[in-house]
Symmetry: none
Subunit: 531 residues, 2 copies
Amino acid sequence: MSRERLYLYDTTLRDGAQTTGVDFSLEDKRTIANLLDKVGVDYVEGGYPGANPLDTKFFAEKPIANAKFAAFGMTKRAGRSASNDPGIAALLDAKADAICFVAKASEYHVHVALETTTEENLAGIRESVEAARERGREVLLDCEHFFDGYKANRDYALACVKTAYESGARWVVLCDTNGGTMPHEVAAIVTDVGKIVPGSHLGIHAHDDCGCAVANSLAAIEAGARHIQGTLNGLGERCGNANLVTLIGALKLKDQYSERFDLGVSDEALSQLTHMSRQVDEVLNRQPNRHAPFVGASAFATKAGIHASAVLKDPRTYEHVEPEAVGNVRKVLVSDQGGQSNVLFELKRLGFALEKGDARISRVLEEVKRKEAEGFAFEGADASFYVLVKRMLGEVPAFFQVERFSVNVERRYNAIGELVMASEAIVKVRVGDEVLISAAEGNGPVNALDVALRKDLGKYQDLIQDLELTDYKVRIYQGGSDAVTRVLIEFTDGDGESWTTIGVSPNIIDASFQALTDSIVYKLLRSGAEL
Amino acid sequence: MSRERLYLYDTTLRDGAQTTGVDFSLEDKRTIANLLDKVGVDYVEGGYPGANPLDTKFFAEKPIANAKFAAFGMTKRAGRSASNDPGIAALLDAKADAICFVAKASEYHVHVALETTTEENLAGIRESVEAARERGREVLLDCEHFFDGYKANRDYALACVKTAYESGARWVVLCDTNGGTMPHEVAAIVTDVGKIVPGSHLGIHAHDDCGCAVANSLAAIEAGARHIQGTLNGLGERCGNANLVTLIGALKLKDQYSERFDLGVSDEALSQLTHMSRQVDEVLNRQPNRHAPFVGASAFATKAGIHASAVLKDPRTYEHVEPEAVGNVRKVLVSDQGGQSNVLFELKRLGFALEKGDARISRVLEEVKRKEAEGFAFEGADASFYVLVKRMLGEVPAFFQVERFSVNVERRYNAIGELVMASEAIVKVRVGDEVLISAAEGNGPVNALDVALRKDLGKYQDLIQDLELTDYKVRIYQGGSDAVTRVLIEFTDGDGESWTTIGVSPNIIDASFQALTDSIVYKLLRSGAEL
């Protein structure tokens, strides 16, 4: 059976930036664009060049190799020509493969929000699409408020769609901007639009205000649309956009879709879906949603005893797809079977020569469970997991012992009345027979502690000289009744290797200190340092 | 037009108890049952009497006045009669109005999980339903794995449905137990089942493993089913059950449903939906989902400036329903993405009497932009925004001035060789002519600083006595070349009001201190404190 191609358009970096609390830096944008490119989406919408300096800068060069890089912006303003509109100029100057214009497709919005005429709005669509086509860009047109507009004035909404298509837009995208349209309505309306524009040129852009963004996207596909817009982890304004991660899981793994449709996402990329979803949360310092379809930590977790025993007989009894397909893992809370193989997998990956059945594997698993109950999370802290296992195997020499540290932060007015902040740390460490005491100042307590700790480690000093603290993350974790602080620290050495360690404590300084010492021990172990 | 009745069946206390990390006490169960009763659901499933002592106890008396109280349990075991099965006896002994039996409706599961015959399974359904009917109970039958069973062996799945209906079950409930069925399949299969059992006796029980639980429930209704099972806030195993809160919002507020269907939920109860949803999270000590449809804190929050100005003209431009209908509130986020309209809206909401065009509005916007460039983010820190504006308007008295603070954290071995951590803070503050110095210990530096700062504020002490630090969040923000720490602190006072403040600094202690002092100033301003 010949399969049709479905096209994925990611708008995490534009519509996803509207999420409450999300604030991308330029570096965040680059990281996420590259993640998306690896996943295999067809379009990465980078932002709105011209609307703010960050987005303009992001469009100064194309940051990705494979996907089309798309710039978003409004159609030309009423009362001026496209060639004389600074917004259009900024879009045409952007280093983008495609331009996605947004235009109202609702008579009500044309009058109330734009305060212009329906004819002027159609002219804006036509002239903007043509201007971008003349400059050799692929053009998309987001029909904002399309579904609400259609229900209020079908003819006008369809006129917008028709104008965009006839002016040469590659994709005409039907937007449920307010997220209030229900799946059966989407199905009926997209079917109707299909009489004017072929489905191979129709896209869907859904919002989750009724918890139906994924279903609305699927309904549009069933009705003929072949282009889907969404965001990673369903980021977006209000309740978020259609979750592309969920859609990729369903479209790749459900027979009724995979038999009919091809995606740009390979099976190998699919197996990184869980990892990729969590990396996005990591970049944004958000708590991953445990219950997210396909990729949540609980998505394949079985709690009921009766279900667990069936899952052990045959996982298909309570799993709609195999967790491995999306890089997730099965969790059966009454048994460590699933857990042991994960641990074994991780141990092998880190170079430990343990075989299945080795009693030390279940000891490691027990220790990991104990530590995770305290608030540790080793998934993002490989190096701490490595140090933990080495320690359990008795393979960590007592390189150094910290006998004492103290950190002091002070804020006061100095003699001439200026407000000054000072942070200093003292670390006393024993290396073999040597006792070394170092003091340092820093721009904050963790920086001061890091500098003091690594100022003089005696004979190991050469090995840690070139370390650099490259990332520091903090999260408050509700462990039982009390909150604990979870600190993740990333170090990079002179060879460009980087690793992450974790520390957990009610005291943020103590948690940071644990992560700092783990990092040094890790580096010494990897360097083959000896006592 | 005459409307049909839809029946809501809540299983928060049974299927919702399978959520990772959820563990109901008897008191929790009573609280939630009463909440559900007030909302107006038709059935409250309390648990599985006989399966554990807690549930048996919960069924010793009926805890609710209006809804039907339902007990859940398996059909009789193979090889014994219903009258001789202790599981059935426990269900019949429970003080329940209705009994919901669960039985496999999939040939594969009958063989693999139950290890019995298809005939024996049908006999179990028939005899269990009859036994409960004889004792005067209303009976429901959950057809477990119905959709997967139907796709593998339609005849057997339908035989289970038919047997249950003909034995006298009031409702035959079609369960998508593994959550892998897609909306168009649910529509087709429920339509087919409708040829055997009238829709007025058919129910749907959906799981969210493909992000489609709400849509699947709605698809079943479109196909004729009139009974919907779900949980509050979508609690449940793996990715959760169909979210009844979302379903209530959609069914009550969307014309295409409300014109056709009646629910037991009144408009007044609907206006408590947000409150009720958050109370459930409160009981379970979970963080409410900001992005939840209808009831999330961000469900009606607008960030983009261009959207905000439209919302201010007419909220319907970007809202699919009125937030007031579900007891939620509109929010226009103040951020550098937003424009003057956002700021004006927020200023009005916070009680400032500024009008459009006032030059001070653009000064506030400039200041917000300047602070956000430094790493501030006011959209999650209302109280700091309030203090900022009051300060710009010259309306913040110099209540107190912190002349100096110092914080010390030490880790060392004590005299008997134990590792000890100590955190202490000293704060020197001037209140009018008084100079006050306070010291305190804490479980970490921020806690010590908070306790010391609020130990003695002289004449203001009474006003801040009942404050409690209820949340603390940290994020590292890459502001330009250097990383800064962004701290958000939430306080609650004795009246139950809570507010959030923000601090930004390269130094985490300093950032925390800014947020702490903002919180105190906010409280003093709101209390009308004077110099």
